[in-house]
C-alpha cells in the first residue's frame, strides 16, 4: 500500500489504514459484498478508536450505503479500489471506480447537491416522499446523519474518485 497524501489544498496528511481492491465485475456479482466489505473494513479500522464497537457500527452503516451506491453504478470494466485513511477524528474513505461518462455527471451533480444549503431539507422531503431513496438521497443522508463531506477528485482513465470524510469519532447520538 503506497502512502496517500492530500495536501492539494494545504490540508492535513491522512495516514493510510487499509485498502481493498477488486474487479468491479466481481464486486457487483453479489449484493452481500457491500455488507461484507463494509463490515470487515469497519472492524479493522475501528480497533484503535476510543469506542471500537460503536465506531465500527457507525462506520459500517455509512460505508455500506456508499458501497450500495457504487453497486448500482453503471460501470466500465476495471478495478474498484476502497481505501480508508485517517487524520485525527476523521476517517476518509476513497472509492476509485471505473464508470461510464453519464455516471461521472451523476456523481458531480450529487456531490454538489450534498454541499448545497438545502441538503437537509431535500433529505427530509425524501423520507416523507413516496419514492424509494435514490442514490443521490443516499449520499445526502451521509451528510445529514453522519456529518460527512463529499468531493470528487481526478482519477486515471475512465475512473472517478469519490472522497468521503467521516468525523465519526466526534459524533454524539
Amino acid at each position: 500500500m503506497e502512502p496517500v497524501h492530500h495536501d492539494l489544498a494545504g490540508g492535513p496528511a491522512f495516514e493510510p489504514m487499509i485498502q481493498i481492491d477488486m474487479e468491479i465485475k466481481a464486486f457487483v456479482s453479489v449484493w452481500r459484498h457491500c455488507d461484507y466489505v463494509s463490515t470487515y473494513m469497519a472492524r479493522m479500522i475501528s480497533q484503535n478508536r476510543s469506542d471500537s464497537v460503536r465506531h465500527s457500527n457507525l462506520f459500517s452503516s455509512a460505508f455500506n450505503e456508499l458501497l450500495e451506491v457504487v453497486f448500482r453504478t453503471r460501470h466500465a470494466d476495471g478495478e474498484l479500489a476502497c481505501r480508508v485513511s485517517r487524520h485525527g477524528a476523521t476517517d476518509r474513505i476513497e472509492l476509485i471506480l471505473p464508470c461510464v461518462p453519464e455516471e461521472r455527471r451523476f456523481y458531480e451533480e450529487a456531490v454538489s447537491q450534498v454541499a448545497g444549503i438545502e441538503a437537509r431539507e431535500r433529505y427530509l422531503n425524501s423520507v416523507s416522499g413516496d419514492l424509494a431513496p435514490s442514490r443521490e438521497v443516499v449520499l445526502l443522508e451521509l451528510a445529514v446523519d453522519y456529518n460527512a463531506t463529499l468531493r470528487l477528485e481526478e482519477a486515471d482513465g475512465d475512473a472517478i474518485k469519490l472522497v468521503v470524510d467521516l468525523p465519526l469519532e466526534g459524533l454524539r447520538n
Binding site: 449484493w31 464497537v53 460503536r54 459500517s60 423520507v127 424509494a132 446523519d145
Partner: protein
C-alpha cells in the same frame, strides 16, 4: 460465518399483548421484496392495534436506506390514514445512528414519537454511579484481586486469549488482568458513560494498551457471536432483575469451548467478630433492601443453577472471603463505610425507611467496621466465583 450466507439476518415479530412490532438484526436488502413478510407483519399489526403501536428497533444493528424508507413509508401512511393511531418508536442509545435516523420521523408526523430506551432496566444505577463511589470500587477490586489472580487460571484465564469483561465499571479489573495475564485483546463493556470516561483516562495516563472500552447494554450487545475465549462479568448479574437475559448474551459472545466467569455476592453472609449479631442482622436487611429494588445480592450460591440453565457445561464454583486480614484493614473499613453511606442513606430513604430502622441498620455497618479494625477482630465479605464452558 460465511459472508454469503443467505439466511436472513434479521427478525421481525409482533407481540399482540404489548402492541409491539419489533425488528432486530442486520437489514440490508437489495430489493424491497426481500422484506415482504416483515412488511406484511407490520401492516397487519397496524390493522389490529388500537391507540398506540410500539415499534421496537432497540436490537436493530444495521438497516440500509432502502429498508428504512420501506418501513417508514408504511408508518407515515398509517398516520395519515388513521389519525387515531399513535406510533412510539423505541431506539437504543447504544446503536448510534438509530435515534438520529428514526428521530426524523417525529418531525414528519406529529403522531410518531421516538424514545431512546435506556437506563431504567438497571434500578440501582443511580445509587452507584455517583462520582463518590469510584474510590470504593477501586478498593473493592484491589481486595478481590488478591484472591482472583490465583483463582482465574482455574477458570480459563491464560496469556494470549481474547477476552471480554462485561459490566466492567471503571475498568480496574481489565487493567489488572492485562498486566498479570497479558491476553491478546480485552473488550470491556459498560453502560455508564462516566465510568468509561474514567477508565479511558486511566488507560491514557498509564499508557495501557490492548483494552477496548465500549459503551453498551449487556442485555443486547453489539458484539459478534462466538469471539471470546473468556467472558467475565463480575458483581453484576446480581444487579439485574433478569440475570438470565445477561447470561444468554454472555453465552452468545463466548466461543464454543470458551468459558464464562461470573462473580457474585451473598450479602447476608457478610460476617464479623465481635458484634456478630448486629452485623448479621444488618446484612440480612441489605439483602432485603436490594430485593426491594429488584436486585438479588444473594445470587452467589445460585450461580451454578443459572449457568446450568443457560446451557453451560463443566461448571466450576468456588468461594473466597475478602477479610480485614488481607492487606490494610482500613481498606476494608472504608469499603463498609461507603456501603453504609449508600445503603443506609439514599437507598433506605428511597424505600421510605423510618429513622429507627435506619439507625439500627447503620449500627451493623459500624459494628462491621469495628470488627475490621479491632486488634483481635475478624471481618469478612464472601464472594462466589463460578464459570461454565460453552459446549463445542
Amino acid at each position: 460465518m460465511s459472508p454469503y450466507n443467505l439466511l436472513p439476518r434479521f427478525k421481525a415479530q409482533y407481540d399482540a399483548n404489548n402492541q409491539e412490532f419489533s425488528i432486530s438484526g442486520v437489514v440490508r436488502p437489495q430489493a424491497i421484496d426481500e422484506l415482504g413478510p416483515s412488511i406484511a407483519l407490520l401492516r397487519d399489526a397496524i390493522g389490529r392495534v388500537r391507540g398506540v403501536l410500539y415499534v421496537n428497533v432497540r436490537r436493530l444493528t444495521q438497516m440500509n436506506n432502502a429498508a428504512f424508507h420501506a418501513f417508514s413509508r408504511i408508518i407515515i401512511d398509517a398516520c395519515r390514514a388513521r389519525p387515531d393511531l399513535k406510533f412510539v418508536v423505541i431506539t437504543s442509545s447504544v446503536v448510534g445512528w438509530t435515534s438520529r435516523k428514526f428521530g426524523r420521523l417525529s418531525g414528519i408526523e406529529p403522531n410518531i414519537t421516538v424514545e431512546e430506551y435506556d437506563s431504567e432496566f438497571y434500578p440501582g444505577q443511580g445509587f452507584l454511579e455517583e462520582g463518590g463511589f469510584v474510590p470504593i470500587l477501586r478498593t473493592q477490586t484491589k481486595m478481590t484481586w488478591r484472591h482472583e489472580r490465583a483463582i482465574l487460571p482455574r477458570h480459563g484465564m491464560k496469556p494470549g486469549i481474547v477476552m471480554a469483561d462485561i459490566c466492567c465499571g471503571i475498568g480496574d479489573f481489565a487493567v489488572l488482568v492485562q498486566k498479570e495475564f497479558q491476553p491478546s485483546r480485552i473488550v470491556a463493556l459498560d453502560h455508564s458513560i462516566s465510568s468509561l470516561d474514567y477508565a479511558r483516562r486511566v488507560m491514557r495516563e498509564f499508557d495501557i494498551r490492548g483494552i477496548e472500552y465500549t459503551y453498551g447494554d449487556a442485555s443486547e450487545m453489539l458484539l459478534d457471536e462466538a469471539q471470546f475465549d473468556l467472558v467475565t462479568c463480575r458483581h453484576s448479574l446480581q444487579i439485574f432483575n433478569r440475570p438470565e437475559l445477561i447470561l444468554k448474551e454472555l453465552y452468545r459472545i463466548c466461543k464454543p469451548g470458551g468459558r464464562v466467569y461470573i462473580t457474585n455476592e451473598k450479602n447476608s453472609h457478610c460476617l464479623g467478630e465481635p458484634r456478630a449479631e448486629s452485623i448479621r442482622w444488618t446484612y440480612n436487611e441489605v439483602a432485603k433492601l436490594f430485593g426491594h429494588f429488584e436486585m438479588d445480592v444473594e445470587l452467589g450460591p445460585k450461580s451454578r443453577r443459572y449457568l446450568i440453565e443457560a446451557g453451560f457445561e463443566d461448571i466450576r464454583v468456588e468461594t473466597f472471603m475478602v477479610t480485614n486480614l488481607d492487606g490494610d484493614p482500613q481498606d476494608f473499613a472504608d469499603v463498609i463505610a461507603a456501603w453504609a453511606d449508600v445503603y443506609a442513606g439514599e437507598m433506605a430513604s428511597k424505600r421510605g425507611d423510618c429513622p429507627e430502622f435506619v439507625a439500627r441498620f447503620r449500627q451493623g455497618f459500624q459494628d462491621h467496621i469495628f470488627a475490621a479494625l479491632h486488634p483481635k477482630g475478624y471481618a469478612g465479605w464472601p464472594i462466589w466465583v463460578a464459570s461454565g464452558r460453552r459446549p463445542q
